[in-house]
Symmetry: C2
Subunit: 328 residues, 2 copies
Amino acid sequence: MHVLITGAAGMVGRKLTARLVADGRLGERPVERLTLADVVLPPRPEGYAGVVDVVAADLAEPGVVERLIEARPDVVFHLAAVVSGQAEADLDLGYRVNLDGTRALLDAIRTAHVEDGYHPRVVFTSSIAVYGAPLPNPIGEDLHQAPLTSYGTQKAIGELLLADWTRRGFLDGVGIRLPTICIRPGAPNQAASSFFSSILREPLAGREAVLPVPETVRHWHASPRSAVAFLVRAATLDTALVGPRRTLSMPGLSATVGEQIEALRRVAGERAVHLIRREPDPVIMGIVQTWAEALDASRAERLGFVAETSFDEIIRVHVEDELGGVLP
Amino acid sequence: MHVLITGAAGMVGRKLTARLVADGRLGERPVERLTLADVVLPPRPEGYAGVVDVVAADLAEPGVVERLIEARPDVVFHLAAVVSGQAEADLDLGYRVNLDGTRALLDAIRTAHVEDGYHPRVVFTSSIAVYGAPLPNPIGEDLHQAPLTSYGTQKAIGELLLADWTRRGFLDGVGIRLPTICIRPGAPNQAASSFFSSILREPLAGREAVLPVPETVRHWHASPRSAVAFLVRAATLDTALVGPRRTLSMPGLSATVGEQIEALRRVAGERAVHLIRREPDPVIMGIVQTWAEALDASRAERLGFVAETSFDEIIRVHVEDELGGVLP
Ligand SMILES: NC(=O)c1ccc[n+]([C@@H]2O[C@H](COP(=O)([O-])OP(=O)(O)OC[C@H]3O[C@@H](n4cnc5c(N)ncnc54)[C@H](O)[C@@H]3O)[C@@H](O)[C@H]2O)c1
Ligand SMILES: NC(=O)c1ccc[n+]([C@@H]2O[C@H](COP(=O)([O-])OP(=O)(O)OC[C@H]3O[C@@H](n4cnc5c(N)ncnc54)[C@H](O)[C@@H]3O)[C@@H](O)[C@H]2O)c1
């Protein structure tokens, strides 16, 4: 089968590519061809026997998505996005990529469907940012989308379009509302949620990290490995079981910052914990306190989506996948 | 003040125009200027002392909305829309008008805001079609938007954009989810809900009407007069009381078809009721049974929105406003 990944140069896109290359298959079917697209040239995966096209192009530019689906990929993972902080800072860019880019992709698939019956599985990564405070805890899947950011607005619109295109029979869409991905590897990014990862990742690497919020802050997490497992599950599940509500809240771990730090202490000792510097930031606190603390993900759980159940496990995933299995 | 109405040639648009002309004011302020825009040339109101511009133009055409807001109307009633049946039958048209047209209007206002601080009240007419079965009864205002039509999808997206533009400070938006407007005057239209009006309107005029569903079907109604009162209230209320959730479910009357017919009997007698011919239509039934039966509109009620409380009243409004106060 042929798999297209948009946003393939991103954090989740690279990990998904690595998983598909390692497995050589998606569900029961061998992956013979990969199209990896991103506005930044995605790295060419090593050790992959199939055909790979790497494409550096902006999804929102005319003609780009048409070209990407020309060879009719069986599965489309639509990960390309301008993330929360940047979509808030640059309104036009966020709407251009997250709304217009998504719509262009869906429209191109519709045109192809009308031409030759093309009907791919499309997996769309949405976010808990579609919800807005005041929030119940846990958030039920029938809670209204009342986002308080432009990013959340754009993701909510993406979910609505995906459902309408699926209902119309142009494609077979599954949206997944990812928890905050923790521990996010690499450098801190523009997301206000960045510290949830850096307070673990940096001390695990012997570096200082800044904690801008109190330890009582509770949030909803899953590891990058789980995120990739969610994507694979979304691409392979029997969508007859999903029904018309095509976006699923993904399972996660609801934990406080204090619980994250306790897990760090257990896994890496007191020395690591001492590298966390408390620097309260009212702006970040203001943003974070409007976020989800936990979601009811029982629908997804019944469909076979699984996440970590402790922060020790999330830290161990990071040590295995990013640090070669050893603490420095 | 200067008031712009898009969709001014439509049923609600014409009634709103008539009300503004009759009142001569909107809230406390005199209405000195009206801009009436529609893809169909809106009728020029009679007996209005102020300035009127009637504009026949397609909102989704480049440049049209910019021209409409050039004189910086203080209040924009955005009613222009392709309604449910047509948006379902013509996917491109629905998205073009209901999504692209709405977005063009919001974008033009944003550009004007950036230029000179323009910050109009924008009243957007949404619909209970943003909700999708299975539905609780009543529907709480925090129920997720899970539309089962393209029209509902487009209205849900309009609500999201309105909220984001309001949050960003470009405009002062209020969305109102109108109940089905009953009794809709004039000829039956393309909406699947058309029969809710025609089973009363046609017999009241001595004509036959077709009832395609059982009498047990329950739905959510308000008169055209109430719809106009909602619009006026939305244009004049203190939005500081609304908060970030800018769309309000409007009050209405939850009634079965049987209750509608009982009211018709009380107001117009057995002869009128005999003009209703039962012709079950499984397609219409299939659509209608996924619709809302009642909404919790307590937020709007607290903000001063009021609807009818009996179908006798709804019929009397029709007799007064459409039949000159007398039964034929
Ligand atoms: N990481 C999280 O915590 C999280 C949580 C919820 C949802 N998500 C969503 O999951 C997806 C992947 O997230 P991630 O963490 O890998 O983000 P990321 O920022 O690492 O990757 C997104 C990629 O999209 C690419 N991109 C941006 N604009 C583009 C354009 N116009 N055309 C083509 N590519 C473009 C970027 O270059 C980047 O490589 C995104 O859709 C994101 O919104 C992530
Ligand atoms: N009537 C109802 O029961 C009901 C219920 C819920 C919501 N609404 C909404 O209320 C609003 C008014 O409803 P209505 O019953 O008067 O509908 P209507 O169909 O009578 O009026 C809509 C008007 O929009 C105009 N229009 C369509 N495309 C246009 C375009 N591209 N540019 C400019 N104008 C265009 C049409 O010509 C029409 O005059 C609509 O937004 C509708 O979706 C109505």
